[in-house]
């Protein structure tokens, strides 16, 4: 049972602690959210999990794999996929090509097979393409299939990010603010995708999101970071009632469930 364990992770940048002794668990098949003010260290934590940063202290494991020192591509090969906060797409390539790239580790033929492109390589490529098209259907990206992603509207690019992560066929999906720059209706669509991914494929999800409405509604468990430290954790109800969270993050008691400021704020 692959569970993600983050144990006492500390991350330092030249004397400055971006993370201090953070621990968390992502049980199989659950949606776990991380919230906190800007600069709290949410993305840095994700970076530690996905191998872009290596924790100064502490340990991160996924099932039997130790991620603490693994390179990003190795982490990916363990079944952890990620959508980035600031759009890390291959801007010049089309949506289809972006997704095809995500199948890299699933293709198992050599450079020699590549050269000949007959039999193994050709067959796998065809299957691969079919797989990608299914994801495109699922994420409702048909209309943009052949557009260079750099020219797509911001919100659509975010959706491509998620689709590309999904194409990796992960067991754990890390989503860094997938709904930034979307209006309520579009957020609803994205939530639907996330819930479907979790429910139908049993994929665990780590979600970073500033929209507390979304976070409170779909998370099984929430962790709150502030200044690199975990200041609260628990179910949505527990967290939204926690005074420290209110002070550090929302500024308003019960903000998460009040309709007037709630949505989007």
């Amino acid at each position: 049972m692959p569970q993600l364990h983050v144990e006492h992770v500390t991350l330092t940048f030249g004397g400055l602690n971006a993370l201090t002794d953070v621990s968390l668990v992502v049980p199989e098949g659950e949606i776990v959210s991380i919230i906190g003010p800007n600069g709290a260290g949410k993305t840095s934590l994700l970076n530690c999990i996905s191998g872009f940063y290596h924790p100064t202290r502490g340990r991160i494991t996924f099932g039997e794999h130790d991620l603490s020192r693994a390179a990003p591509n190795v982490v990916t090969s363990y079944g952890i996929a990620r959508a980035f906060q600031n759009l890390e797409l291959f801007r010049g390539l089309s949506v289809v090509e972006n997704l095809l790239l995500a199948r890299h580790t699933h293709l198992r033929y050599s450079l020699l097979d590549s050269l000949i492109f007959y039999g193994r390589a050709s067959r796998q490529e065809a299957e691969n393409r079919a797989y990608v098209e299914r994801i495109i259907d699922f994420m409702e990206l048909e209309a943009h299939r052949h557009h260079p992603v750099g020219t797509l509207a911001y919100g659509v690019q975010k959706r491509v990010e998620v689709a590309r992560a999904l194409t990796l066929a992960p067991r754990l999906l890390l989503l860094d603010e997938p709904m930034a720059g979307m209006n309520v209706e579009e957020k609803e669509d994205m939530v639907r995708f996330i819930l479907d991914i979790q429910r139908e494929q049993g994929i665990s999800v780590v979600l970073i999101e500033h929209d507390l409405g979304v976070v409170m509604d779909i998370s099984d468990r929430i962790y709150v970071l502030d200044f690199g430290q975990k200041i609260a954790e628990g179910t949505p109800q527990q967290v939204s009632a926690d005074p420290r969270v209110i002070e550090a993050y929302t500024g308003v008691p019960g903000a998460a469930h009040a309709p007037a400021q709630g949505a989007g704020a």
């Binding site: 209706e185 579009e186 509604d217 779909i218």
Partner: protein, 264 residues
């Protein structure tokens, strides 16, 4: 009004073929805050680019219509002229100069040399006291909210009469969103700067603006006083996430059907 920024029936195409704006008209009244809402890809950013003269680098063109400000036609001018005319855009996604320090970022905004940059710096620091503490830090390593402050402060260095903000709340935590909008209001009041703010976060945008427009598929589909817009049932459902009964809709409710928007 002479000092309003008006956009009249503007059509924009990218690469000569991709039409994005289909006859957009709107007015940014002097000294007031106007908001522009809309779905992804509706053309909000494009509208701002059409005003600020930043279409060219994206290979876009105003094919028809005009943008005018204080009786001058801005459409067709380059970005520098538009800034000189007093209209400054704060681009989407907090594009600060990553390798420059905070203070250098602000100074890079002072290129028009109106007033003296050192006194202008003080002005910006009075709006954003946080930035003063960070003045020698590389902007690339500041947090999201701070970057947004830098971007707005940098634009203010040019003494704009109209400020165009593209999704200032993007990626910001709730407290900071509120802070930024308070700052914008303050600037608007103290300097009489007109503001056009593009937002996805409709609730806060409508709360802090005087007038609003809603855009879909390259057209303005609705406009009105902000308070009135916030009361519209469609805006309520699609932009504010409020159910017909007034409660907040839960994201967990599986949508078995999708209600179409009326204006489409």
């Amino acid at each position: 009004m002479g000092s309003d920024l008006t956009i009249n029936n503007v059509e924009v195409v990218y690469h000569d073929i991709i039409q994005v704006l289909r006859g957009v008209s709107l007015t940014v009244r002097a000294g007031r805050v106007t908001s522009l809402l809309g779905t992804n890809g509706a053309g909000k950013t494009t509208t701002l680019r059409a005003i600020s003269g930043l279409l060219k680098p994206e290979n876009g063109k105003i094919r028809e219509g005009t943008v005018s400000f204080e009786g001058r036609i801005l459409s067709g001018l380059g970005g520098t002229e538009v800034v000189k005319a007093g209209v400054v855009q704060v681009p989407e996604g907090r594009r600060v100069f990553k390798h420059l320090t905070v203070e250098e970022n602000l100074r890079a905004g002072a290129i028009l040399g109106r007033g003296h940059w050192s006194s202008d710096l003080e002005r910006i620091y009075s709006y954003f006291p946080k930035l003063r503490a960070l003045r020698h830090k590389q902007a690339g390593y500041t947090s999201g909210g701070e970057q947004q402050m830098i971007a707005i402060g940098r634009a203010l260095m040019a003494h704009p009469k109209v400020l165009l903000l593209d999704e200032p709340s993007l990626g910001l935590a709730p407290l900071l969103v509120a802070e930024i909008f308070d700052n914008v209001r303050q600037i608007n009041r103290q300097e009489g700067v007109g503001v056009l703010v593009v937002e996805q976060n409709a609730s806060i945008a409508l709360r802090h603006s005087d007038y609003g427009y809603v855009m879909e598929g390259g057209r303005i589909v609705m406009e009105g006083e902000s308070a009135a817009l916030a009361d519209n049932p469609d805006v309520k459902e699609f932009y504010l996430g409020v159910t017909e009964h007034g409660g907040r809709k839960s994201f967990r409710d599986v949508k078995s059907y999708k209600r179409r928007k009326r204006w489409m």
